[in-house]
């Protein structure tokens, strides 16, 4: 199962790659569990930077819709378990004593976009597609909302999550969802390498101390809002309205 996400370590820099390219790295329970295992392995490591990215064209297309649509999964509890796993994973990533970088190589949608917000620094390119289309599917991005608010500021997060839809990498950079923007996919590797090299030049303890303080100031983990959010997301997901909207969305794909 571990192949669903891979971890490579190169000196002070670790790279966690979501590896379900055929499903645009959408979050299945198995993939989330693989990510948990790798992040657990990083706790207390010597690394000072963690890069999170996706294999293939997408960064992460969000929740695995096949798993959360009950008529397909046949398991009404799966959505809730997935959301809980995502909530715990994001808290774990936030609490890592190293700088985390989201290398948004392509689509970062819903939970995938939320994952980029958990990271300390986000890098992408002008043509990437990002956003929170949860409301378009009758869902509520509660599980990631605290991270989105902390990243963009409440006003912008409010507008982005209520409007739904998808924006370009360039638009995402204009509203503070992305910190560094490459012109195109080709330029993203070089740009990310430069940023990672610069981050890794910092003292590991200085970075960890600073990050710990920033976490304390924003208070997201302590507030318990992420786990509460997972419950709220699951509750909305279970409504007939949401299941009907999801079902309608999946139909053209069948």
């Amino acid at each position: 199962m571990n192949h669903l996400a891979t971890l490579t370590i190169n000196g002070p820099v670790a790279t966690l790659t979501m590896n379900r390219a055929e499903a645009r790295n959408s979050m299945s329970l198995d993939m989330l569990e693989a990510m948990h295992t790798h992040v657990d392995a990083l706790k207390g490591s010597e690394c000072s930077v963690l890069v999170i990215t996706g294999a293939g064209k997408a960064f992460c297309a969000g929740m695995d819709l096949k798993a959360v649509l009950v008529e397909l999964s046949g398991d009404a509890t799966l959505g809730g378990r997935l959301l809980r796993s995502l909530a715990e994973l994001t808290i774990k990533i936030r609490e890592l004593g190293m700088v985390t970088v989201a290398k948004v190589n392509g689509a970062a949608v819903g939970g995938g976009c939320g994952l980029s917000c958990v990271c300390d620094v986000s890098v992408s390119h002008a043509d990437a597609k990002l956003g929170f289309p949860e409301v378009d599917l009758g869902l509520c991005p509660a599980v990631i909302a605290p991270w989105v608010v902390a990243k963009m500021g409440a006003g912008r997060a409010r507008a982005a999550m209520l409007k739904g839809g998808i924006m370009s990498g360039a638009e995402a950079a204009a509203v503070g969802l992305i910190d560094h923007l490459a012109e195109d996919r080709e330029g993203l590797d070089t740009l990310t390498d430069e940023i990672v090299e610069r981050l890794a030049s910092g003292g590991a303890h200085a970075l960890a101390t600073t990050k710990g303080l920033l976490n304390k100031i924003d208070g997201v983990v302590e507030a318990g809002m992420v786990l509460e959010g997972a419950k709220l997301s699951a509750q909305v997901l279970g409504t007939a309205e949401a299941q009907a909207a999801l079902s309608a969305r999946m139909k053209p794909a069948k």
């Binding site: 409301v135 378009d136 009758g138 909302a145 608010v149 209520l162 409007k163 409504t239 309205e241 909207a245």
Partner: protein, 245 residues
């Protein structure tokens, strides 16, 4: 002074005192609040617009200066706070279209909106310290929308900011070319929000309100602070200097 109409799941509330740049009077604000609180079951989103050349130039200062008792100013500050809280507390999202300008009380209205569209030429800000009035009434809402640094500068510095700057600090979420564009885009957005499945939208708004520490409580201290300056020598002098000539 307020025009309210419902269609396609959207209740559109329009400031309708265009000949006075939609300058706010107490009865206008109470009508606005009632319109927000009174939306029907079939309303899925609210659009807020202004008629005439500008969205809103703020309180009707002529009426404030003429009222020696300070009651008009007090009623306006209280009414403004109630309008912003009503928008925040509305179960459905509020899309606000700002054309021309949004000054002082007009700019404060942005604090209640979930999505703000503005035209590129619209100046915004709270130049009220110039007339001895404190914009504290807006502080809580502003600081729960944009970062503290820009919020501080915006309330303490009586200068206006450009729409581009407002976009850069997150006070405005979309820029369009002109006034017609503002009306079109605001209506389009409100309709698209109304067309989405309702539970997700309502829960998302409720959740962001919860993360940003509720609504009514937030504004109370600010309103008290603003009210405390009303009728002061400073305010009477500065307001009088502006309107006495």
């Amino acid at each position: 002074m307020i025009d309210v109409r419902a269609a396609d799941g959207v209740t559109t509330i329009t400031l309708d005192r265009g000949e006075k740049r939609n300058a706010m009077l107490p009865e206008m604000l109470s009508a606005f609040e009632s319109a927000v609180r009174g939306i029907g079951e079939d309303t899925k989103s609210i659009a807020v617009l202004g008629n005439g050349k500008v969205f809103c130039a703020g309180f009707d200062l002529k009426a404030c200066a003429a009222d020696e008792t300070g009651e008009t100013m007090r009623a306006l500050l209280t009414g403004l706070s109630r309008c912003v809280v009503a928008m925040r507390e509305a179960a459905v999202p509020v899309v606000m279209g700002v054309h021309g300008c949004a000054i002082a009380g007009g700019c404060a209205m942005l604090g209640g909106a979930d999505v703000v569209v503005a035209d590129e030429g619209a100046p915004l800000g709270y130049p009220v310290v110039k007339i001895g009035v404190s914009p504290a009434v807006s502080a809580a809402f502003l600081m729960s929308s944009i970062p503290a640094g820009p919020a501080r500068a915006l309330m303490l510095d009586p200068g206006l900011i450009t729409a581009q700057r407002a976009f850069a600090i997150g006070l405005v979420h979309e820029l369009v070319a002109d006034a017609d564009g503002v009306r079109e885009r605001t209506t389009e957005l409100a309709r698209s929000l109304a067309a989405k499945p309702g539970v997700g939208v309502r829960e998302t708004k409720r959740l962001v309100n919860a993360i940003t520490k509720g609504t009514s409580d937030l504004g109370r201290d600010g309103l008290e602070a603003s009210l405390s300056r009303v009728g002061s020598d400073e305010e009477r002098r500065m307001l009088g200097a502006l309107w006495g000539s």
